[in-house]
């Protein structure tokens, strides 16, 4: 398939080191270069939306990135939001800035492999609305169907979606999800709308995560808070009141500051009538398995 579709790549920044963004941008430009040579991509644009308290880039520090993008016929757009919109609202804002056929959602410091854009673009067509790249060195453990790659949801650390599908479900739910589970929710709404969500292992992306000497992956307080908040809201949105009760009870029993803050936020939304409309009453797509949103391989 070589239809040469237009591409917008979107990254939302928050206090990332400028050098990391430039390195990631250089890897991206190289991958798009090969996708253009392979006939998968025509014109392209890199949208960076900066949520940081102080802008990550000035004219001088962004110059090498602009040069790398323009060297391969791309356009760089850098928008300073002036506020922390969060991941979902940030991507919705950036998506509204272009009308490309394809949208690549990419973590700002994630480095794609030379083949990644080609492989993802080859995969996203027809009913396949969202294809996720395989993260390296720590691969996401969620299961995917052998050979066709169908999976419960796609992580937007690096995932390609079609504009048509993005518009069809009105993008990310930024009213409900700030930092986590916006991608789970987006995937599940696509699937409810009849689209397929796939894992594409041949598209690799380096996401710089580290493990401790004991193989653990320590989470920060903010990560715990936002994932706890998202867990309750996702269970509510996908019509699982039983789970909402058990998650809230579990968090109350645990009693740590981040999870209690998440419970308080949920209660505030409930009392203020700010909870999302409920979906999937027959539980066709929503999977809640041991705190995960898919069957995990490990």
């Amino acid at each position: 398939m070589a239809d040469g579709r237009s591409l917008a790549v979107q990254s939302v920044l928050y206090g990332n080191p400028a050098d990391d963004i430039v390195r990631a941008g250089v890897a991206l430009a190289n991958s798009v270069k090969w996708a253009r040579a392979d006939g998968f991509v025509s014109e392209w644009v890199l949208h960076l939306g900066d949520c940081s308290p102080e802008p990550v880039f000035d004219d001088a520090s962004i110059a090498p990135l602009r040069e790398a993008v323009e060297a391969h016929a791309g356009v760089l757009e850098y928008t300073v939001f002036g506020a922390n919109l969060g991941s979902a609202a940030g991507h919705n804002t950036l998506a509204a800035q272009s009308r490309s056929d394809l949208v690549l959602i990419l973590n700002p410091d994630a480095q794609v492999s030379p083949d990644t854009v080609s492989v993802l673009a080859a995969r996203v067509s027809g009913r396949i609305a969202l294809a996720e790249a395989r993260q390296v060195p720590l691969e996401h453990p969620k299961d995917f169907r052998k050979y066709d790659g169908d999976t419960s949801w796609a992580s937007t650390a690096c995932a390609l979606t079609t504009r048509e599908a993005f518009d069809a479900v009105a993008g990310f739910d930024s009213e409900t999800f700030f930092l986590y589970c916006d991608d789970v929710d987006y995937s599940w709404r696509l699937r409810l709308a009849g689209y397929r969500v796939v894992y594409e292992p041949a598209a690799a992306v380096f996401h710089d995560k580290r493990l401790t000497l004991t193989g653990d992956w320590p989470a920060s307080s903010a990560e715990i808070y936002y994932s706890a908040e998202a867990a309750i809201l996702l269970a509510y949105k996908y019509s699982r009141p039983d789970l909402v009760r058990s998650i809230v009870a579990q968090y109350r029993a645990e009693g740590s500051e981040p999870v209690m803050r998440a419970v308080a936020e949920y209660e505030s939304r409930r009392i203020g009538d700010r909870l999302p409309a409920q979906l999937d009453p027959e539980h066709k797509v929503g999977q809640f398995i041991n705190g995960n949103y898919a069957v995990h391989r490990f």
Binding site: Q111, P114, A122, E139
Partner: protein, 365 residues
């Protein structure tokens, strides 16, 4: 056995300094030993990258090979060069290797060179790489493993004068071959990375078996280009264990306190474990052991205590076995029991009587 931390010189140089520093040593010998020590400690003034990475491939696994290069391209510290050692690749696979290399980003590609190697064992391409290497350190990275972003950074942080081996921590992860959606020969990861190897290097334990996959090591350039070691091309396998042992005995080891790479264990499919027979493995292990056994070795500081404990343990084990195999332990235990038996019987009787009395008192109430 863990070496004392914070040492900056190789084991060999340490020995020279000890002898040269003795109060009554022949002054001429002391002067010559000091000169050798100074020669070995002199800083390398050449303009070199910190690290040369020898990336060995036969071109058979294109997808893991791409992962390996992606991990290198994404290192936070870029002070390294890569030598891709393409060993005995068939023309089709060699074309794939070149296609993958052609697509690398220019800035990274400028630090990557390709060397074709034909014939010989797994050690041959490594020796070709050692000759080409410009780095202060040399690391070996096979084409199906993974690195975290701080692999080079952590080696560099730990490197001292450049005379000792560096050893970081590795995790194991299981994968099995699987066809991918666009017909690539891919794989499926089936486990979380497990840090199963010790996080400190223990030389005596490593004499038994290799606990440290290749990419956990950075070997000082001096090991090859000053002390003259090379990978043993007679070995079918275990070429890593051989250089790790000979290198650590000569230079000593500094631990890198970070988990920086993932060793992929293939469930099914081809690996060095399936490509080589058990006879190859046994013979190679024996050759490694024989070669060290036939030579004089220098143990690093800390070895004395560890070896004493081991000898003590073995002696105790032998004694323990001996006592239980014969009657010498059973007999005194029997005498002890015979002596204690009347007392134990009396104690049981007293306990039972007290219980009966308590029961009666409860019944009366």
């Amino acid at each position: 056995m863990t070496e004392t931390s914070g040492q900056q010189q190789s084991t060999f140089v340490g020995l020279l300094d000890i002898v040269a520093g003795r109060r009554k040593v022949d002054p001429e010998l002391a002067a010559r030993l000091t000169a050798v020590s100074q020669y070995l400690n002199q800083p390398d003034e050449a303009d070199r990258p910190f690290l040369t990475v020898l990336l060995r491939t036969q071109g058979r696994r294109a997808e893991p090979f791409k992962d390996a290069l992606l991990c290198l391209a994404a290192q936070t510290d870029e002070d390294f060069e890569v030598i891709v050692l393409e060993h005995d690749a068939i023309p089709e696979d060699a074309r794939d290797v070149r296609r993958v290399l052609e697509r690398l980003p220019e800035r990274f590609a400028a630090r990557v060179q390709l060397a074709e190697v034909n014939g010989g064992t797994r050690a041959k391409p490594l020796n070709v790489g050692v000759e080409l290497a410009r780095g202060r350190y040399i690391a070996v990275y096979d084409d199906d493993d993974l690195l975290f972003g701080n692999w080079v950074e952590e080696f560099k942080r730990t490197a001292g004068s450049g005379n000792r081996l560096l050893r970081a921590v590795v995790a194991n992860q299981s994968v099995r071959p699987e066809m991918w959606p666009q017909d690539q020969d891919g794989f499926r990861t089936t486990s979380w990375p497990r840090p199963e190897y010790p996080d400190h290097f223990d030389l005596l334990q490593h004499l038994l078996v290799n606990f440290s996959p290749f990419m956990s090591w950075a070997f000082p350039r001096a090991l090859f280009h000053t002390y003259g070691l090379r990978f043993d091309e007679e070995l079918q396998v275990c070429e890593d264990w051989d250089v790790i042992l000979r290198g650590s005995l000569l230079c000593g080891v500094d631990d890198v306190a970070a988990l920086t790479s993932i060793y992929r264990r293939w469930e099914g499919g081809e690996s060095s474990y399936t490509r080589h027979s058990s006879i190859d493995w046994r013979e190679s292990e024996q050759r490694v052991i024989d070669r060290i056994n036939e030579s004089s070795i220098t143990m690093p500081p800390g070895a004395m205590e560890s070896m004493r404990r081991m000898v003590l343990y073995n002696t105790a084990l032998d004694n323990y076995r001996f006592m239980f195999n014969g009657t010498s332990l059973r007999r005194p235990l029997n005498h002890l029991w015979d002596a204690a038996r009347p007392g134990v019987k009396l104690a049981v009787k007293v306990r039972n009587r007290i219980r009966r009395l308590r029961r009666r008192r409860r019944d009366v109430q």
